[in-house]
């Protein structure tokens, strides 16, 4: 059992999300930085779909009421070693700091968290309200007794993301002027403070449209760069709505590329 003493700014449970019901209006949800989440689970010998914690700007304080093996990945926080399995004796209090860089950290517990699953997933969907609530002080999380694989013998190496994030053409690229494509790939975009798991909102020049035709609502997906009337793109995150009424100019090849961006961070793109 894990006791949440303080959840920090935002801690949710996540797994691989709930794909398969988008036609009914259900977002995919799931860990924003999927590679970091997968690594945390692998380090403690969990299956890839085990439920773990996603921390936003660290700050989580928890007590292991029983002995537990945990691993922290994503944004590194003081208070627990990064990228390596750590054995905690029963009663251990772990106080995680605020990461110096990066936004989201993943804390896996060997066995996986035994939390309520909705449509097959333990993911907290902050837009739809599906899945467990965001964690609050005093929450008790049971650990699944299911047998796991071996704990990883060696730690991980931090994965550095450098250079512009790769974009693929979106379905409505031709709704934009050629200048828009150039602006998209030459601008040093800044992440706006109102970014969250629904979308990473970018500040920069308006991307010009060829005309102001209204788009009948169509399906969107995490990683899509949707351009609302003000011309500034929003990169859809895991909790984004499944349909939208603004044109999608491009799609990120890898959603993880924007998972660790904090408000004010720069980001650039290439096709």
């Amino acid at each position: 059992m894990i006791e949440i003493v303080s959840p920090g700014p935002l801690t949710t449970t996540q797994d691989l999300g709930r794909p398969g019901s988008a036609a009914l209006g259900v977002p995919r949800s799931g860990a924003f930085d999927r590679a970091a989440a997968a690594l945390a689970n692998r380090l403690v010998g969990n299956p890839a779909d085990a439920a773990l914690l996603e921390l936003t700007l660290g700050g989580l304080v928890f007590r292991a009421l029983d002995a537990a093996t945990v691993a922290l990945t994503g944004a590194a926080c003081d208070g627990l070693g990064w990228g390596t399995p750590v054995s905690l004796p029963a009663g251990s209090l772990v106080r995680l700091g605020t990461p110096r860089s990066g936004l989201r950290s993943y804390l896996a517990v060997r066995g996986g968290l035994a939390v309520e699953r909705v449509l097959g997933s333990a993911s907290t969907d902050l837009l739809s309200g599906l899945g467990p609530e965001r964690l609050t002080a005093g929450d008790l999380l049971a650990v699944d007794p299911q047998p796991s694989g071996p704990v990883s013998e060696q730690g991980a190496t931090p994965r550095l993301r450098t250079g512009p994030a790769l974009l693929l053409p979106g379905p409505r690229l031709d709704w934009f002027t050629p200048e828009a494509s150039t602006l998209l790939t030459t601008t040093r975009w800044l992440v706006r403070p109102d970014s969250d798991r629904v979308g990473v909102r970018l500040d920069g020049p308006a991307l010009p449209r060829i005309d102001a035709t209204e788009l009948p609502s169509e399906a969107t997906r995490p990683g899509a760069l949707q351009v609302p009337p003000d011309g500034r793109p929003i990169v859809f995150g895991p909790d984004a709505p499944v349909t939208g009424g603004y044109p999608v100019i491009a799609v990120l090849a890898d959603l993880d590329d924007v998972a660790q961006l904090r408000p004010g961070d720069p980001v650039s793109f290439r096709f």
Partner: protein, 198 residues
Amino acid sequence: MLPYGRDALLVELRDVAEVVPLQLSALALPGVLEAVPGARTVLVEFDPTLTGATALTAGLLSAPLAAKTAAPTRQVALEVVYDGADLAAVSTATGLSPEDVIALHSGAVYTVRFCGFAPGFAYLDGLDPRLHVPRHASPRATVPAGAVAVAGEFAGVYPRSSPGGWQLLGHTDAVLWDATATPPALLTPGTAVRFVVA
């Protein structure tokens, strides 16, 4: 067929009536993971290790005709108490009496074109053009679950309490969303829907 990343296509259709048949056809093709209707499109997400854009395009081009003869659509009747907060405003905006608004809204047969906004929120096509009213410029912070509403060309029902900008005509006690049911949404794409005065 429009590109949508390495593992998806957006299929654009001429006729809204082709959307759900194409969705069903796509789901029957090997390697397809999701098929998500929009107003005039279907997003087809696939496993790139099992299929590809070329194979799917070929499969989809030959499929829609077959799917049009598929099983009859689901039919749902929803009992509505027409006590919505915007009934009077819609009456004023349309120049119709509240009784006429109710008669037009409950007199039509609607079709679920697509879902979105929230789990189980269905966009219902078939609203009488005389009831086409714009959504509120500023959405309400809370619309109750079961609120029966219209906005633009669509009718809809809020599956759970949420913010919302549609014009509220009434409410239904029907359960629109139950995560433990199969399917969890009462109104799935293609479902025929009628509103009945309670």
